[in-house]
């Protein structure tokens, strides 16, 4: 049997339950006597709580209990931040239910527990909270200014994290060309389609928590560590989870409070979020101001890059809030060679929803800034932006290459991906059309955007995470259970929420063990079934979790060898493995299939002395490097210069994600990622008013694009295997979202450069584009 499954466009095993409505979303769970929680949230961006009166709510029909922060003060602890990026970082206390002060609209101040959700919602109206308003702090630059009102007593600056490599003075001293730009990463709302939900069932002093989470294992550990519930008495289940994009990579107030309420009442409780509640309470993403300085030679060679970043933390530091900009720190130099890099990030508190990981987490921001800056530099030099990139990128002969940021890129071929994209896109032809439209003064101008991105993913080598002060490791765990019938159960510590692990892991195991794809079942997302794991985020599942699965298979094969030798009465040294079977070298008729060995192990009647009667295995894998997918995305837009309307005419993406296990899944990940990146470029923004009220609380105000708003994407691939792992895989979950935003915005600006426009803030709505054009003409904004 040869390798047959890796690379096959297998349709997904997951689909059967999902297309028929037989799903197990957390909100589907019903338990006898299940009570419903409703949370009362602060309507003030910043206020002192002077009193909370829940007595009227307690007497309302159907209400079992009502609580304020005071009821939990002794036991609720503080929501954890697992990434204290500097020794002197300010990590303010973050009680799951506010007790003294609220710092963003949406912070929980009280709750009702009732027999049904309608009764709970009704009783919420009866809670009386008195607030003493405090000043809202909304603007990062103002927040850092002397005399600004404080979000926290300790100040508005959480940390400053620096990185300097190379001689910056030399790079900038006498540099023939220096450009300085400031870009803005707007605040985004991740908007997974499934709103969050929790259910907790207490039995004696043990608890089962179901949650729509990406991280059941991390959540279990932190619930135990903070609340003092013995870890062995806590089971966390992530059933079918309807998307995450980082928003469910979190340890939330609602999860803590669900467990605490179940413990207080000794009864099962459930909480289901509405969309408008979620927009106020699920962490947001991005929200950075990026001050960029590039020094270059006249021929375009990059000398140095300086990045001074302000990152809006929001009101508190959540699980990895301060680490998000750090994940970008190493990516500003992207695929380019340069002599020096300096990066400084200041984490700033504001009275807004906390920020945290959102698809790409730090890397989309960095990629946007460098690609935008490369376009700006090309314009300054009067050079084709693609040519400027070619003059600076790492060539394929130079791998492995240690970048100015200190990472070692193991593999890549930027020339090949770009050449393919340029051809598919018809780059030269479009440039000709652009020139002719410019010459004729066509009111609809054509713009071409380029993103030659790379990213670091497959998070991550544990030792490196330790050096960056991250609170956990970056390994992943897997186990294989060989069933007596020869079927296989694969247990993975990755926790899928749409990625298709059940299918992809089956493909990997089918090749490794030589068993049929259909004979494999993948289990995940329940700490009682999958006791160890680091879960799913940072495009890590395949590049880390998939390799753990390979490791577990190798152990099964090694155990099977000893047993096969005993059954065949030959020396193990005389056996050779052909996928699915140990056989005698030179006498292939003499052999045992893995299914036969599994059955023999079940019976265990005649195993060799001292051999345990089990083929099952466990493996954990800690990567030795990040992986570095890359690619070239090209976007053509038409911009109506009279109305500011932008429409995407074509979008070509050639990505190199290393070896592909399932091309169907890879293509789907890229489609979705590209769509999210386009959404940032053109549509989405979490907007606040001057009092700190979120204006985009619903999907009517926060414009998640529909099918009618997005183009058809033309995809292709190059394949440069990763050398850092045995499958040669790199990960694909975030690549699309990292790549597409600068390609689209770059295209919009490219269309308008002849009109004098050098930047359009995201999202590039008609209004913003029109204003940019008008302003460039010398008109009013």
């Amino acid at each position: 049997m040869t390798v047959t499954e890796i690379g096959r466009a297998r349709t997904r095993k997951e689909d059967a339950r999902l297309v028929t409505g037989q799903t197990s979303w957390t909100d589907n769970i019903q338990l006898p006597g299940l009570l419903h929680i409703a949370f009362l949230r602060s309507p003030m961006a910043h206020a002192r709580i002077t009193s909370v009166d829940v007595s009227a709510a307690r007497g309302a029909p159907g209400v079992i209990a009502a609580f304020s922060g005071a009821d939990f003060a002794a036991e609720q602890g503080s929501l954890p931040c697992a990434w204290p990026v500097t020794p002197d970082i300010i990590i303010p206390a973050h009680p799951p239910m506010a007790t003294d002060e609220v710092r963003y609209v949406g912070e929980i101040v009280a709750c009702v527990v009732a027999r049904n959700k309608y009764a709970a919602a009704d009783a919420l109206e009866l809670i009386d909270v008195d607030y003493e308003p405090l000043p809202a702090v909304l603007d990062m630059e103002a927040a850092l200014a002397e005399g600004s009102p404080k979000v926290h007593e300790a100040g508005n600056k959480s940390f400053v994290w620096p990185l300097v490599n190379g001689d910056m003075d030399a790079a900038f001293r006498d540099a023939p060309v220096v450009i300085e730009r400031t870009y803005r990463q707007q605040r985004l709302i991740p908007s997974a389609m499934e709103p969050r939900a929790t259910v907790c069932e207490p039995v004696g002093d043990e608890f089962t928590l179901w949650s729509a989470t990406q991280i059941p294992h991390v959540l279990r550990f932190l619930l135990a560590a903070v609340l003092g519930i013995p870890e062995q008495k806590l089971r966390v289940v992530a059933p079918d989870v309807g998307g995450g994009f980082g928003s469910k990579l979190q340890v939330t107030a609602e999860e803590f409070l669900t467990v605490l309420i179940a413990r207080k009442l000794g009864r099962p409780v459930k909480w289901t979020e509405s969309r408008s509640e979620g927009n106020l309470a699920v962490h947001h993403g991005r929200d950075q101001i990026q001050r960029i300085k590039i020094a270059a030679d006249r021929d375009g060679r990059l000398r140095g890059l300086s990045v001074d970043l302000l990152a809006d933390m929001g009101a508190y530091l959540m699980l990895v809030t301060p680490g998000v900009p750090l994940l970008g720190a190493f990516m500003y130099n992207a695929i380019y060679k340069m002599d020096a890099l300096s990066f400084k990030c200041t984490g700033v508190f504001t009275t807004k929803v906390p920020t945290d990981a959102y698809r790409g987490a730090g890397r989309p921001e960095a990629t946007f800034a460098i690609e935008h800056a490369m376009d700006d530099l090309a314009a300054e030099l009067g050079m084709d932006p693609l040519e400027l990139r070619k003059r600076n990128w790492i060539t394929h002969e130079e791998f492995p290459y240690t970048t100015i940021a200190g990472l070692t890129y193991d593999s890549g071929n930027y020339e090949a991906a770009t050449a393919k994209a340029v051809e598919l896109f018809g780059y030269d032809e479009l440039r000709r059309e652009q020139a002719s439209r410019r010459a004729s003064g066509d009111p609809v101008q054509l713009g071409i955007g380029i993103s030659t991105y790379t990213e670091m993913c497959g998070l991550a080598p544990s030792r490196l995470l330790g050096q960056l002060a991250y609170g956990a490791g970056g390994w992943e765990h897997a186990s294989i259970r060989m069933l007596p019938t020869g079927k296989v159960e694969v247990v993975t510590g990755s926790s899928a929420h749409g990625q298709g692990h059940e299918t992809a892991w089956s493909q990997i195991v089918a090749d490794q063990l030589g068993v049929a794809f259909e004979d494999i079942r993948v289990l995940h997302g329940d700490t009682a079934i999958s006791p160890k794991g680091m879960d799913t985020y940072g495009s890590r599942s395949l590049a880390v979790g998939g390799i753990a699965v390979v490791g577990a298979c190798e152990k099964v094969i090694a155990k099977a060898k000893v047993i096969a030798a005993g059954l065949l009465e030959v020396s193990a040294d005389d056996l050779e493995w052909t996928p699915g079977r140990w056989q005698v070298r030179g006498d292939p008729e003499q052999g045992r299939s893995i299914a036969e060995i599994s059955l023999a192990t079940f019976a265990a009647h005649n195993l060799p002395d001292g051999v345990e009667p089990s083929l099952d295995s466990d493996a954990a894998y800690d990567p030795n490097n990040f992986s570095y997918p890359h690619g070239t995305h090209l976007c053509a837009v038409e911009v109506d210069t009279e109305t500011g309307q932008v429409s995407i005419r074509s979008y070509v993406a050639v990505d190199d994600v290393g070896v592909v296990v399932n091309p169907l899944i890879v293509e789907g990940q890229l489609h979705g990622g590209i769509a999210q990146g386009i959404a940032q470029a053109l549509y989405e923004e979490a907007a606040y008013d001057a009092d700190g009220n979120l204006l985009t609380t619903t999907l009517a105000d926060y414009l998640v694009p529909s099918a009618a708003d997005l183009p058809t994407y033309v995809l292709d691939r190059t394949e440069t295997p990763a050398t850092s792992n045995p499958l040669g895989v790199k990960g694909v979950g975030e690549a699309g979202a990292i790549a597409s935003t600068p390609a689209v915005v770059g295209a919009v600006i490219d269309a308008l450069r002849p009109l004098g426009v050098t930047d359009v803030e995201m999202p590039c709505t008609s209004q913003r584009v029109w204003r940019a054009i008008n302003e460039a003409k010398g008109g009013a904004r």
Partner: protein
């Protein structure tokens, strides 16, 4: 409480409900038909789309009492012994990832193809404008609907 009776996926249900109860809550919590999920509270996302007397409706914007006497088809009642061509096409074209929007997307597509059995790509995109997906970027959803159309799903 108000008495309602309706047929859901071929089975008749009679219940007393609060007049304010949404149809989607009735489906999920009273009738136990949890295949239809809820994605928003402003009728923008379409995750809760069902067929109400054969026409697509967002079940979050209909009261259970308004559906009194109606015939409802949810994603759980779409397959007739074997998968509906749209269910098959969504699977074959990898038109779902997390799958949360899928029930509504399929039910909306069924109604779209009823009205327009052979839509263009543009008509599919416009026709599904009321259903949001965060995972797929829509390309494979559009492909799946076109595939089901080419297989004559409406006939």
């Amino acid at each position: 409480m108000t008495k309602v009776s309706m047929t859901i996926d071929g089975v008749r249900y009679d219940d007393d409900v609060e007049p304010r109860m949404l149809l989607v809550h009735y489906l999920r919590e009273v009738a136990g038909r949890t295949g239809t999920p809820i994605g928003c509270d402003t009728s923008n996302c379409g995750a809760c789309t069902v067929l109400l007397n054969g026409m697509s409706a967002k079940s979050c914007s209909v009261l259970a009492v308004q559906a009194d006497g109606a015939e409802i088809t949810t994603i759980q009642g779409l397959a007739d012994g074997e998968w509906h061509p749209l269910q098959r096409a969504f699977h074959e074209e990898h038109a779902l990832q997390c799958g949360y929007c899928t029930p509504g997307m399929i039910m909306a597509a069924a109604d779209l193809l009823r009205e327009n059995p052979h839509p263009t790509e543009h008509e599919v995109r416009e026709g599904l404008e009321g259903n949001l997906c965060r995972c797929t970027g829509y390309q494979n959803i559009v492909r799946a609907v076109l595939r089901a159309a080419s297989e004559g799903v409406a006939s």
